[in-house]
């Protein structure tokens, strides 16, 4: 296989996905033709309002919710902010304690840290070596003044899927609200708010082929939520600002496609994932799979490769046209190891060799074979440069 055949193998779908053609097409009329303000009463506005509601229903269906339980936001990050801060601010009279896991996305983590500065108390629940939250631990962490628990559905860096229904049951029993960040899971595995038994759930367009800049928050019927953006009565008064109509339409369309394609997609991705995981196991020594071996996203394969560093690895793969991600300290602006890798107990030098592949329906089996071939090559090259590898060979 010539490298020229494969100039672009995109394996970083957790960071961004291309916008689907069908989605772009659905969005286009709402930029110029149907541009009316949905809050106006004449035809041009009220028709657009109706379009928003139709698409709200589509997004609701994606997660088996009711239309009136969906708020459109600008992103998954905003949905997470609204869930954590919105609940905390509206329930602060009831209590000022919230619980989040140690591996939450920055938008949950830093919302919680912000609340700490506002005199809320936050418990950070540790996870085990696979990134799983223990239900006994959660149960013990809940206090009489706990108002919210936020634990992500699936983790974007290690792929681990939490036993959400088990964790949410504990909260339900104790009368504590439960939020889950489902940005990484929606469109990749079934996400049903009733089966998961959650009160709030965040999702984002970027993970399902809608554009960046649109997300949604599910909140169980009539739950009180302090808005973060004060304005008019848009989104049932929970988020001000004229609705981003084309993007809402895009998210709705992408949701319909995600529902239709889910099971085929899962089947395909599971095949690719097992190819890459077994390939790495067989062809590269001294590698650790990060995250859970089975309870993981179908298109997610992540590893720590001993004696080499992730940024160098990403750049060398880039030179072969392969795009992937890493949680290495050197690759982060703050020069800190990914908190997720720290939370699952990865030793610092091993964490340096982090690499994350996240795949989508568009990835093909031949691409995985190409990636495996180049990965072996690049790992060998970097190890030949590494002083740690020399000492390893000596053992």
């Amino acid at each position: 296989m010539k490298s020229l055949d494969m100039k672009n193998v995109y394996m970083d779908h957790a960071s961004a996905t291309p916008v689907r053609e069908e989605v772009i097409e659905a969005m286009l009329p709402y930029f110029d033709r149907h541009f009316g303000n949905p809050s106006t009463v004449y035809d041009m506005g009220s028709k657009v309002k109706q379009v928003i509601e139709e698409h709200r229903a589509k997004v609701a269906k994606l997660i088996s919710a009711k239309s009136q339980e969906i708020i459109f936001t600008s992103s998954g990050a905003e949905a997470n902010n609204l869930a954590v801060k919105g609940v905390a601010l509206s329930l602060q009279k009831k209590g000022r304690h919230i619980i989040i896991s140690a591996i939450e996305h920055h938008s949950v983590l830093n919302s919680a840290r912000f609340l700490e500065r506002m005199d809320f108390e936050v418990t950070f629940l540790p996870v085990d070596e696979y990134g799983l939250v223990d239900s006994g631990r959660l149960s013990r962490a809940i206090r009489s003044d706990t108002i919210l628990v936020s634990i992500m559905h699936a983790n974007n860096e290690i792929g681990t899927i939490q036993p959400i229904s088990e964790l949410s049951a504990i909260c339900r029993e104790k009368g504590v609200l439960f939020h889950t960040d489902a940005v990484a899971s929606v469109g990749n595995i079934p996400v049903d708010v009733n089966a998961l038994n959650v009160d709030l759930l965040s999702l984002s367009g970027v993970s399902i082929g809608a554009p960046k800049g649109i997300g949604a928050l599910y909140f169980r019927n009539n739950l009180r939520l302090m808005p973060l953006i004060h304005g008019g009565i848009q989104e049932s008064g929970r988020r001000g600002g004229t609705e981003n109509v084309p993007y809402i339409v895009g998210l709705g369309k992408a949701s319909v496609l995600a529902v239709e394609e889910l099971f085929d997609k899962m089947n395909h991705l599971e095949k690719l994932r097992s190819l890459i995981i077994s390939g790495v196991r067989e062809r590269i020594e001294h590698v650790k799979l990060t995250g859970h071996p089975d309870k993981r996203l179908p298109g997610h394969a992540s590893f720590c490769i001993e004696a080499i560093e992730g940024e160098a690895l990403i750049y060398m793969l880039n030179q072969h046209g392969i795009y992937s991600n890493t949680g290495s300290a050197c690759a982060s602006k703050a020069l800190k190891t990914s908190p997720v890798l720290v939370a699952i107990g990865t030793p610092p030098d091993l964490a340096q060799g982090s690499i994350v592949f996240t795949m989508d329906s568009s990835n093909k089996i031949e691409e995985i074979e190409y990636v495996m071939e180049k990965l072996c090559l690049v790992v060998e090259k970097l190890r030949s440069l590494s002083p740690l590898w020399r000492s390893k060979e000596g053992i």
Binding site: A307, I308, E309, E311, A312, Y315, M316, Q319, S328, A329, C330, A331, K333, L335, P348, D349, Q352, S384, L385, S386, P387, L388, W389, R390
Partner: protein
């Protein structure tokens, strides 16, 4: 984010390797991110006859190691000691701010190797 020079040295780090029976070895760890560099030198007539390295680190760290060995080769020990993180970064057409510490690491590892040689020689 990196200059072409950096990518060149990173992609083809031709000075990488170990010198068997090196006259001096300098090993330093990167206190910021935990990475590591080892430099090996061969000295002849007070000059660096050969310099090689092994590096566990980022793109910048690998490029730095290679260019430091390049800059040091053929220089007198005294001249080689004047290699600093600044001169290294300049030789690479600049480094991103947060990567300057990798440049420092290269200069330091070479200095350690020279020190090791001098210690062995003069006790």
């Amino acid at each position: 984010m990196y200059s072409e020079k950096v990518m060149e040295h990173f992609s083809n780090p031709y000075n990488a390797g170990v010198i068997e029976n090196a006259d001096g070895i300098g090993e330093v760890g990167n206190p910021v991110c935990g990475d590591m560099m080892a430099f090996y030198i061969k000295v002849k007539d007070d000059k660096l006859a050969d310099v090689k390295f092994k590096t566990f680190g980022c793109v910048a760290a690998i490029a730095v190691s290679n260019i430091v060995s390049e800059m040091a080769k053929g220089k007198t020990l005294q001249e080689a000691k004047s290699i600093t993180k600044k001169t290294v970064a300049n030789a690479l057409d600049g480094l991103p701010k947060e990567k300057m510490h990798c440049s420092n690491l290269g200069a330091k590892a070479l200095a350690e190797a020279i020190k090791d040689y001098e210690k062995k020689k003069y006790g």
